[in-house]
Symmetry: C2
Subunit: 346 residues, 2 copies
């Protein structure tokens, strides 16, 4: 159990810190997670001695922050309005946050009009796994034969006032879920809100989101449908007719992915390229001795320079066109300006 | 005529510079414009001697950059995705750019979901004036009895790749126009594009905008309808049923506002609180001797600190509600979070 203290909501807050290595916006950038172990000495005049233990944000941060209240932990990867596709690495030891690559290039999501970057704080639920060998629970049958995408469950945190930095661990409650189907893989997106947001107490289910944040759900579906098109992909599709499912359904999916993660980390599931190394889960095959982990010292380097047009540009998409059969090759690798109107490319 | 040089488009480019006084994000912040007068000495080894003359961006920058080609100058006040409401002061001598105030507070436009700040580069066309004593040209009669808003014509510059800094003077071509009616005042918004944008040659009229930037016009109308609602205003309305009128119509309005400005600056129109002081327009009542203008020295100060929630927050609006009769008082002065759902306030 992490060292913790009670916050104003009576929730115990584990204390995590980050160790950044190399420059942001490079392929070598890593954000490792560490957990503080506070050792208070009896002599109250002495400072608290903190001991940092490296952990995996995928495996060592508990999914349930307060299981009785249904409150979860979320690891934020991408702050609202930003574009760099930071994500928990599933294959590197201790699963640091890295910047995703596409065809060897660092991945920055385009600003697909009318959206500026990601429109929520985006991240993952720790200790969950979308098992690629597992066909998802689907009473309606509408996910067809899609399977898990081999990553932790994705979550979108919708607090409208907070931009949450990469690597933050937030206590959130689930409100609903959307079933994105991306290249034949099930890619659930859990809608959550930080319980410390003053509005959180008014939000308990997906209908409350539409009531208090009108337009957000439609925009979210629209965002996910189109965001990979500038990279040359077809628009994404959705199961359940694109409907957002309710909090109850979200909790069922979370439970399934929690169970899948338990099979993964205990060695009962085929792990493939997933690193299951961790430092806190006793009797698991991936358990490491923290004293034998030798991470480089943390740095706080300025980001590498990036072409201004990566950040400054809009991409316009012809969303109403019935002729979206443009070829991947015709768009791939071309500057964003060429995607402004897809008709121009055909 | 300004000192100028030919750019790659064969357009002569006057050389303007800015003199910033006081800290940005304070009520004392001023951006004055100066025009460079280059004096090249015969001795080519000598540096070019530059002499800066203070000018008014309202009166001293020519409207037409190339009248034959229909190319205009635009003074950019607000860069895309930013929120501070910078504008040419109509009443201060030499019309510096200042930050607008609302009820004594510096004005920052809210991020009305799904938009982040202004969605284009926003500014004004110099040497134009929406005469408040003048009822606008309107063959359809649909602007009713609205009159000019006493400011230069507003323009939105739609280059999707460029964020243009406050105070920039750009050469643009008009593509169309929208007739916003704001509190009973006609407030035209001219749609323009920087002629140096590679796409500009494909854009000649308003239909080209919809073709190449699908969704932009609808979003623009939506943006203008709602952007003042978080400050306690009713949604804005539009003449002509909210239709964007074509480039031909835009040019007619521009010509009318150019004529109105000529009446203003020549003393033939009642100027009210508008400062018509200038330094380059001979035989006008507001002509100043540049040598007698004593501007403080320019500074380059960091912006004053602003509450993070000004920049970090979304405001959600209940756009579909048929019951928008909320009172100004119920919203005015309340933090943005309370505007998230207007139903909550009623």
């Amino acid at each position: 159990m992490a060292a913790s203290s009670l916050d104003s909501h009576g929730l115990s807050q584990p204390s995590y810190s980050l160790r950044r290595i190399n420059r942001p916006f490079t392929t070598e950038y890593r954000i490792y997670f560490e957990q503080q172990e506070n050792t208070t000495k009896n002599d109250t005049d002495s400072p608290i001695v903190k001991n940092s233990v490296p952990i995996s944000p995928f495996h060592d941060i508990p999914l349930y922050h307060d299981m009785e209240k249904g409150i979860l932990n979320m690891v934020v990867e991408i702050p609202r309005w930003s574009q760099a596709k930071f994500e928990i690495s599933r294959s590197k030891s201790l699963n640091p946050i890295i910047q995703d690559q596409l065809d060897g290039e660092l991945r920055f999501v385009k600003n697909c009009f009318p959206y500026k970057g990601y429109i929520w704080n985006y991240g993952a639920l720790p200790q969950t796994w979308e098992d690629p060998s597992h066909f998802m629970h689907d009473p309606a049958g509408s996910t067809g034969r899609t399977r898990g995408d081999n990553d932790p469950l994705d979550a979108i945190e919708i607090s409208p006032k907070s931009i949450i930095p990469t690597g933050s661990v937030k206590t959130v409650k689930p409100l609903g879920i959307l079933c994105l189907v991306d290249s034949g893989e099930t890619d659930w997106k859990v809608v959550v809100i930080d319980v410390h947001n003053p509005l959180a107490e008014k939000l308990d289910d997906i209908d409350d989101v539409e009531l208090h944040f009108p337009g957000l759900l439609d925009a979210t579906r629209d965002w996910f449908r189109w965001y990979k098109v500038p990279d040359g992909n077809e628009p994404n599709e959705f199961a359940f007719g694109g409907r957002f499912l309710d909090a109850n359904y979200a909790n069922k999916i979370i439970k399934e992915c929690s169970d899948a993660w338990e099979r993964l980390v205990s060695g009962r599931a085929e792990k493939g390229d997933v690193s299951i190394e961790n430092t806190t889960l006793k009797d698991t095959p991936g358990k490491l001795d923290p004293d034998e982990i030798d991470l480089p010292p943390g740095e706080d380097l300025s980001p590498a320079p990036i072409e201004p047009e990566v950040f400054d540009g809009w991409v316009f998409l012809d969303k109403d066109s019935s002729q979206l059969g443009y070829s991947r090759g015709s768009l791939l690798g071309q500057p964003a300006s060429l995607c402004i109107n897809l008709d121009v490319e055909k």
